[in-house]
Each structure stands twice: as C-alpha cells, then as structure tokens.
Symmetry: D2
Subunit: 135 residues, 4 copies
C-alpha cells in the first residue's frame, strides 16, 4: 500500500488514529507523524508515555500493512520501549519504523521516535505483531 | 502512602489518571482498577493497547510512591509488555503490580493485567522507573 | 510431563542443559535450579548475564513442555530481562517460572531468578515461545 | 577508544570475551564479530539464544566504552531481544550496535545481529546499561 492508501485506510477503518499522518512508505518501512495534542501532555511540559507507545504501535501496524495490504486483524503480541529523552511539548512526534521481519505468522518492527526538528531520538521501541492465517 | 493517600495524590497532581482507582496497597505492591471508557475501545469490541500500557505505567508509579512517598519526578525509562488475550470490552481492567526492586536510582515493577471477573490475565508488563536523587 | 520426565528429556535431547535440575513442576509452571560454574563468573565475583538469560530460557521451555509434552521444535521468539541485583558467586541460581499463556501458536512465561538462600530476586524475565503446529 | 584499544581491553580485562573481534568503531557505535564455536550450537544446526544475547550485551558494552573509555563497572540493567530467523551454524555472527543515548547514569543501545554473509538479520536487541558515577 502507498502512503495515501494507508492514510485512507486509517480514516475508514481506524478512526481513533485518523489524526496520524503517513509521511512516507520507505525502503525499510514507513515514516509516521503524530501531532501532539493537549490531552497528550504531562505536567512539566512533556508528552506522556502512552502517546509514544501508541505511535510506535500504529507505526508498526502501518509498516506491516504497507507490505501485505489491509489485514485488519493483525494484533500486537509484544512491545518493548525505552524512553530516552523528554519530548518537546510543542513539537509533533515522528516515528521512523523499520520492518525487520515479515513472516507468515509473526512480524517484527522497530521504531525510532523523535520530536520534529530535534535530532536526538526521544524513544525507541520494538514490536511483534501476530498476523492471522489466510483463509 | 496508603491507598486513600495515593488516590488523593492522583486527583491533585495527576489529573489525567484521576479516574484510576487505587484498590489496595499490598505486601508486594498495589492493586489498581482502570474503568474502561468508550475512547479505549477498538473495533471488534476490545480494549486498545495504549490503555493497557497506561494502566501498567500508572500502576508501577503508584507502587513506587506507596513506598517512597510523592516523588513527582520519577520517570519511566523502559517498559516491556506482552498482550496475551483479548480484554473484555465491557469490564474494568485490574492490575496487580509487584515492586520487585527499589534501589536508590532505579525501581523495577511487574504487572499482571486482567479483565475484572476473568481469571486468565490479558497482559503482563515490566517497567523500570528512574528515581531522581534527593537534594 | 513430571519433573523426572523433564529431567530425563534434558539428558537425552538437550545435553547442553543436562546440568540444570528440574526441582518441581508447580501449579503455575516449574522451578529450575542452575548450578553456577567457574565459567559463569565475572570479575568482581558475580554471575554473567548470559547465564541468567539461559536459565530463564530453559526454564520457560520446561514450563511449556510440562504442559504439552516433548515438543523439540518450540523456539524463543522474544525475551525481556531486568537485571536487578548482583547474584552471589558461590550460590546456585533458582528460577520460578510461571506459564502465563499457552496458546496454539504462542506461549508466554515469566521467571523470577534468585540466588539460592537469598530472598530478594536477582533478575526477572519474560519470554515468548513459538510452538510449531501439529501435523 | 579505538577498535584496537577496545580489543586490547577485552584481552586484558574481559578474558571470557577475548575471542570477540572488534571490527570497527563507527559513527553511531561499533561493529563486533563473534566466531561461532561448537559449544554455541543447538541440535538442528543453529546457534543458541544465550550466544546471541551475549554478543548483543558485549557489543553494547563496547559501544559505550568506545565513547567514555574503560569503565569496568558499567552493568546491564535491561535487555530485550527478538529472535527473528535461524542463524547459520557455520557462519560467524556480526552485531551492528548503535549507541542511542549516553546519559550520565544510563546508556541505551540497540543491536542488529546477522550471520556473516546473509543480509536478513537473525536477531535484534536493545539494552540499557547503568554507568557508575565518577568519583
């Protein structure tokens, strides 16, 4: 699937992530932008962990769909995330997602998350998805 | 801190988690209830991953505070989560959190998350918090 | 499989773990003992990380086999481990392994590892195994 | 530290890893080679998990030392590893390690592990090290 196709898929099938922006489908995965909203902020002017987790999770899902098409029922089975630096409160989050393995039953991705305009990443994550067997 | 003290702390200092219910401070950690809301649901009638992640994260934080008092600036540095079963859409989530290590700089917790009324857990998580040095 | 059956399986099919001792098959999993050898030690009188990782890995495998019988081809797909305290150099390691999920394709375990005779655990681990489909 | 300096450090201070080869110190971390030995093999002609874990662990340690010098007492606090493909039994393992964060107290690395001569990686890992404070 192309970036516009993934974007259309989010709108139609995954409305709670409709504000995510599919920036690009890359050689190794996808780049996804997550606008930061008031509800994502923590006291002290930073972005809460679940927002970064959610970006990594949706990004991995989109990386998989970009290769196999709209398989709605793929589910996350494992995620590991390191929070490394405080994200900027006033910047979007960007995730560079790599699809490291795409097997018949399992797919593995990693993601490097940064605040738009800042080089040093704020978090890294790795995720495993279970892909349902084809009928 | 006691369960009522932790609950009061959530209301005053952590309003985005004010709907979490501190059920008990236990010998090994805490038990926390997370009412499931419309916004937490995914198509197919299940609870989204970031909601479970957020419960594990807040639960670990409360387990640490129950032992060291209201240290606002403790931050999550690492989390690993396994999603094992589909949570029920119409049930609260419960987290049994164990504080496995409480060091000067780092604390480690694990959490077993289940849907209220169902024995088999829906997720497990382990989390590391960094605790700021005392002045 | 019973503890003696698992022990016999290690001897016959998994000789590199033949020195592991299956202490018990429990209600929730297994208890496994790992004698610490000269080659496991690090400077400073402690046990190296790969030894603890290997114990968690073999322990999870045995917990799965205790329920489904000798499935040689189950493989680890993910492991996450927190090293919490320095193990004693002169004590065996003990792993309490819980089988948290046993699905058709994936099994999830966690393990609490301690030095024999010391209450506070030295490490915790969680592991996912992929179980090959039955013919 | 340069690659030859790291290699000399392994020989003098870390003899159990003296057979690891520091191939290069890179812009983002290090490249490390681990010759595979008879004792590393599993039935079925593959390399055991603890060997890959050990390579990721030593590789992360060397990536940190390459930037801060020979700090013997840095210790691993967390590791997460995904085993994605079966390594070749007759090939060395190579780890490309990136140092993603180097803080005062914590460092975070990730590693992509492959069998020499094969493009698709066999494993990915992420690791956190605790760095002791300077006197």
């Amino acid at each position: 699937m192309t970036a516009p196709e993934l974007q259309a898929f989010l709108s139609s099938d995954f409305p709670q992530a409709a504000h995510f922006v599919v920036e690009a489908v890359t050689d190794t995965g996808v780049t996804v932008r997550r606008p930061v909203q008031e509800a994502d902020l923590r006291p002290g002017g930073t972005v809460q962990g679940p927002t970064m987790f959610g970006l990594a999770d949706v990004g991995a899902y989109l990386a998989i769909l970009s290769r196999i098409g709209p398989v709605v029922l793929a589910v996350t089975t494992n995620a590991s995330i390191d929070f490394m630096r405080k994200p900027a409160a006033e910047a979007d989050l960007l995730a560079e997602v790599r699809l490291l393995k795409l097997g018949r039953a399992l797919a593995v991705c990693d993601a490097l998350i940064s605040s738009d305009g800042v080089v040093a990443p704020v978090a890294r994550a790795s995720l495993t998805y279970s892909i349902p067997p084809k009928r």
